[in-house]
Subunit: 318 residues, 6 copies
């Protein structure tokens, strides 16, 4: 079975794929004819596709997020590859394929990622901080098993958010050893909370974001997380004037560093400075790693990456 990432122009292929997007449209013919405008995906990547000559049965058979078996050929459409679907049928039980095999997922099992995060929360020594962080993690624990960290920007795949948190926790452990003046409790809490409201900011399935929620657009995950901390403190009987509450809200509110990047205040504690830069280091390196993973082996330059000053990344041959 051919990985989408490796298909080249003119290749003919047969394989199982996920119908990541599917919309029925009409041609310009008289009378207009229906066709399906499709995005196929597997764990290696995705390709746009067209199914021409759609029958009424087809329209009742195929829906977004279905697994299908496809025979197709890769053509060029406006300088980009596009699959012309020759034959397509729904995957059946006996095909032995499973949805989760066809979406990109973090390289560590989601359940292990969430376990690690909960261990990190457990390791927080300060009781008030631990209570607040636990409260917030509990709100989204289920969603951490599959939510991405962003729609397309970085860690945009199944359990990408949890993976990002775990990697940042590892870096933070190292940095706290290197610089003992940092408060490890606060830094762990900050890492756990900084993007904790993202699962409520975005609407996603299998790591694929279809939209932002109304709350997500009108409030944003940064202020949402701050509100959750208020809620956690109030529900748990922790004084809202406590410096711990302020410190946690400051970590969340300042982690994008600049106003134009969405932070209403700038980092003004040691841990807030550390949080922002550990976040940047991990997110940027993951963008690089993901882009290089998706790069066909014969090529040297990735596409432009918006989060990296809109530059491509070069892979040396030596």
């Amino acid at each position: 079975m051919s990985l989408l990432k490796n298909l080249a122009i003119q290749d003919e292929f047969i394989g199982f794929y996920l119908l990541k997007e599917l919309e029925i449209k009409q041609t310009n013919a008289t009378p207009p004819k229906d066709y399906m405008d499709i995005v196929l995906c597997d764990a290696s990547g995705q390709l746009p596709a067209k199914l021409w000559d759609v029958s009424p049965t087809d329209k009742e058979t195929f829906f977004p997020m279905d697994l299908v078996k496809v025979q197709g050929i890769v053509q060029t459409y406006r300088d980009k590859p596009q699959v012309k679907v020759i034959r397509m049928r729904k995957a059946a039980a006996e095909d032995g394929v499973s949805l989760t095999d066809f979406v990109r997922t973090a390289p560590i099992r989601p359940i292990d990622l969430v376990y690690t995060i909960k261990q990190a929360v457990e390791s927080i020594q300060d009781t008030q901080i631990k209570i607040i962080v636990s409260f917030c993690v509990n709100k989204v624990e289920e969603k951490l098993l599959h939510y991405p960290a962003a729609k397309t920007h970085h860690h945009a795949y199944c359990a990408g958010l949890a993976y990002h948190m775990v990697r940042m926790l590892e870096i933070a452990d190292f940095i706290c050893k290197q610089r003992p003046f940092l408060n490890a409790d606060l830094l762990r809490a900050g890492i756990t909370l900084h993007d904790i409201a993202k699962p409520e900011e975005m609407i996603a399935q299998l790591g694929i974001v279809s939209d932002y929620s109304v709350q997500g657009k009108l409030i944003g995950h940064i202020a949402m997380a701050s509100n959750w901390i208020t809620e956690a403190a109030l529900v748990s009987g922790i004084n809202l004037q406590s410096e711990r509450v302020t410190a946690l809200q400051h970590l969340v509110l300042s982690h994008h560093n600049l106003g134009e990047w969405g932070s209403p205040v700038q980092p003004q504690t040691a841990e807030a400075v550390a949080l922002h830069h550990i976040d940047a280091l991990d997110a940027k390196l993951q963008m690089v790693e993901d882009a290089l993973d998706a790069l066909p082996e014969t090529e040297s330059w990735t596409p432009l990456i918006r989060g990296l000053e809109n530059k491509p990344i070069y892979r040396a041959k030596w």
Copy 2:
């Protein structure tokens, strides 16, 4: 008694003033001598002053925020006027002067301003919105009687914040009549809440801000007000997922319009757009009015005003 605003270089004068700031410093002489570095103020403005040859008694007599009777002369120091204090004594009961006469205050009585604000809250028809707004106003009702709207930017005087709110409510009433598609409940609520956390963001006395609070610096009044709305809803049994809660938090969070001006989200409801522009209109015109009020009658140009693109305002002679 001479208003500070009208004193010119070389003028000698006697009058009562407030010691807005007072610090004891030392001259370069050997041995160094104490002197007092002072800011005098009255309702018309303020002037720096020096009291040379400070006695030990003086140091135990005069403190910041005291009312004093001063005999002085206006000199030039680095191109700016500065008072040399010749004699000074504390004001006594029999002088019949009162602190509040010596600070700038909004042109409407603070108690009337707060009454008007509470009437506006009462006029909100939607019960949930009214409850949340009331909760937040109650938190700072006492402080609304004297807090300014900002340290120096605009409405920087006693009850300036309440005055700003009342003026905005008037404009909003007019605009809602002109454009009935606007939700008057939301717009009134937005105006009442947008700066409601400022009295906790700043530390002020008699309308004079001495500093920002730790919460003010680390969280900022915008996110603080959002947190208060969460608290109000939780305490009052209003569902945190309610669209009304989201709408109110959106109004508060977006009212500075741009990320670089401190808003983590941009206005995305009709009322949020209205709120931002009514706020701008009132604040900017007040900056102009205050600058022209403080301008000696013989002059045509105010000093540069930071909030007005750092430009001065010209007063025509005709």
Copy 3:
């Protein structure tokens, strides 16, 4: 008859519409065939359309700005709705339809808007100011009956400019009552003059802008209006050094507030500050109102609006 705004994908319809744009193009077939690339519009909005299989007669029959009766079907083309025209004929006298019914127009009759503007000019007390403002209004009085305030940005419809001026005059009346230190003559004059050269900057018909004039591109409406004030003064025997002339030119030149928004000087009089913020308040709220008007009732979010930080507006359901 179906309003274009309410047509959904797959709808078939018959109705009268305006050919807002019409161009003859060729298909890729061998030999290439002519087709018409059309924009249909009515008072509710507009849709792109295609007429395939164009006959030589068609080419001599249909021209831009014609009223036509169309039978069509709504299809999807690149994720956007597009009409496939099935039949089309020119509207005839007996159809009883009139051009002006098919373009969007201000909600107040143009003739009443212009009357109101002229009343406002009459109410100016200062003779010199009134003469100059009258001169400039007379230059474009005819065009005020139908010119929009901008090509697409705001008030982009028939008599949109006059409507914008009238609404601003209303706000100004309110603000002048609230803040009597403002010179009402100057503010009325500023509102009347600030966009007065737009009808010469743009080339429009029925509120639809087809292009900018050469003068519009090389000089711009801001400097054009300043030049008109010079012309008005000179023709009327008013001294060019008069502070009134300077004040009026300053109002016009500074009303975009910042250099990057097109103003060569920044507001430096009280009325100039007021003018800019009243202009912003009215223009932004009109963008919101127009976008919500055009929003199908089943939807909650408008398209992105360039003038509102490129954000969409949300319409709550409650």
Copy 4:
């Protein structure tokens, strides 16, 4: 006689200088004593100075723009040199010194500069353009003999504006030969007109700008020159709709290139592009030349120059 530029810390000197600025201030002593805060200048540069122990006679003797004979010593005040005046008297007729010897002046005689400018105007072939340019030059001909091109930015000395115009005309002649598609009439006109309103924008004496005029602040020299072109056309019976009038106003309005640099429109004719870049080339090189001229021979780096990205210029030793 010592040139101010060459005086070093600790130097004692006697010479004639101009009192470029003079203000009477008071010391902190009790009673306060008068002293004079002075700026001395000659053709080589300027230095701040103090005259302590001012007598009543002194106050009636010395005024700004007087020529005086000074005995002084150079001291350090806040890391900068400052003259302590030991003795000072007014220059008398028999001293044989003349005001114009003590201000910096363009290296070509002002009368010759103005003659060259008028010759350039004469050489314009198009009658309408020549009439308009002549009209504007006549308005300020007298002032061209001494006005600088800017307060401090560049060509900030006597006849600096005329010198800037003449140099630009020379470059334009060369460029028009190199690129014959350029319209030499328009380019000469643009150079002559681009800063023609500066003498009315600023208030200056002997090339020293004391302030900006009210018109200068509220309208600015760019829009003022555009207005003058309107006036010139109207007075001379030239049609205001003439493309020549538009072209000349475009040259003036666009010559700062960007909105944030004060131009309401950007260059959109060949000559407007040429004008901006010839202006930049000449102004920047003059800043360099003036800064190097003022640099003591023993030093390698000039002070920071605001117009050159706030960088200093290095003078190599070889």
Copy 5:
């Protein structure tokens, strides 16, 4: 034979052209059919073209950079003209056409341009500077005969880089006469070196850039030229600490003036300031001249030009 620049919609034509780009693509038909997506060019400009119904022989016959004889018709595709190729054959020896006639070339013979550059290098008096400049010119002498100065920005044609250098040298000669304080050796060297690494930064043939080199992307022509100067000095035994080496590297490194335009340091010598502004003047005027040359005679406005603030240029009719 028809120049591409002069072809209008609907024109049928026969002529020789260069296949500047050629790619084989597939239609959506079942089975998909091959077609050629082509860019035709001649010395006057270029047009996109399509050859439908491609035979296997065609695929082995036509390749990019071939000269061909084409019969075609100009159609409209997405509002832009596109050629439909009716017949096409390869140019043969007997056709008497030559590749270089079909690409845009500088108006002076490349060999003469390079000769002029080498004369300028010869005229440098300082031996060290001359050696370093010669070394760098020798590296790319061959490529100077045909390399453009940029991919599309300016001087984007055969020998465009050498033409840009020669024109700048002419301006520099004039400016050095006007301002003798400039070091003519350094200015000539700076002009010769400032873009000298461009032929290694870009991959071009006949003045047409197909891509940037890996070195070009990772290092950029500015730092590359600095490195070449180091190499030149080392190879020629010139001390790397020599002020001449520093001065030359400074000229190259600073010539884009600002960090955001690619210069790691800003101009800090007189010659560096001159270099930047002469470069800007020549490049911008060439953009104007090239855009006007390419403008059909019936039109007044060029397309938007990215390097000119993204504005179009207007050509007056008089």
Copy 6:
């Protein structure tokens, strides 16, 4: 002996300090009197100081960078503490104090830092990379023992540069283990080389930068390091076209990430992205740590820190 950091206003003290800066100036008295304007420093910080009534002997005794014994008192001058020196003598051999005890130094011995750096270079596996890195390190090995990483920005103390390199190497080791796709050779080389030219860009003694060198200002450490790599390759017989040379120069040139921060190219390899973010993480956290170290124990807020968005850092009390 009192640490300068712990001295409060009004404290009298005796101790040994370094004369970090010393300049002789004159008072305004008649005749003017000499005084010494001094900056005292020790390992904990620094304070401005004045010695009034300077004798001729004093002027021949005290020079910058001398160690002295001082009796003084802390006064307030313009809201900042300033020492009035009562008595001062030079430190003598028998005092047993050493210069290096009075300057701030990295918390690890310089010799150990340099040893660690050289070990890291040794561990590079690729021979060409190792040779080039060694060559550059050797150029400045001596200076690495005491040079700071910047004048004031971060690591501004003795051996600060080497300390910064060592810490970054530690982080890089951790990150390379976490993300094995990174090339550890390149990352180590990039860290070692990125600031390697700083000791030639700045002029420093004991970690105290007095100025930038001419090369430093005209070329900058980024391009200098790129030139050194060219030199290293040439001297060592490594092909200048080698991808390794390009990769190393890319790391150095791109490490400031953006043009406005001084990088002529943006990071386009995985290691370049990693280098920039590890550099930022270490530099920013060191700024925080240094500011908190210098903060008196009784205070909660550091001064504003330019490199941290010009914000102060808050130290919680719990």
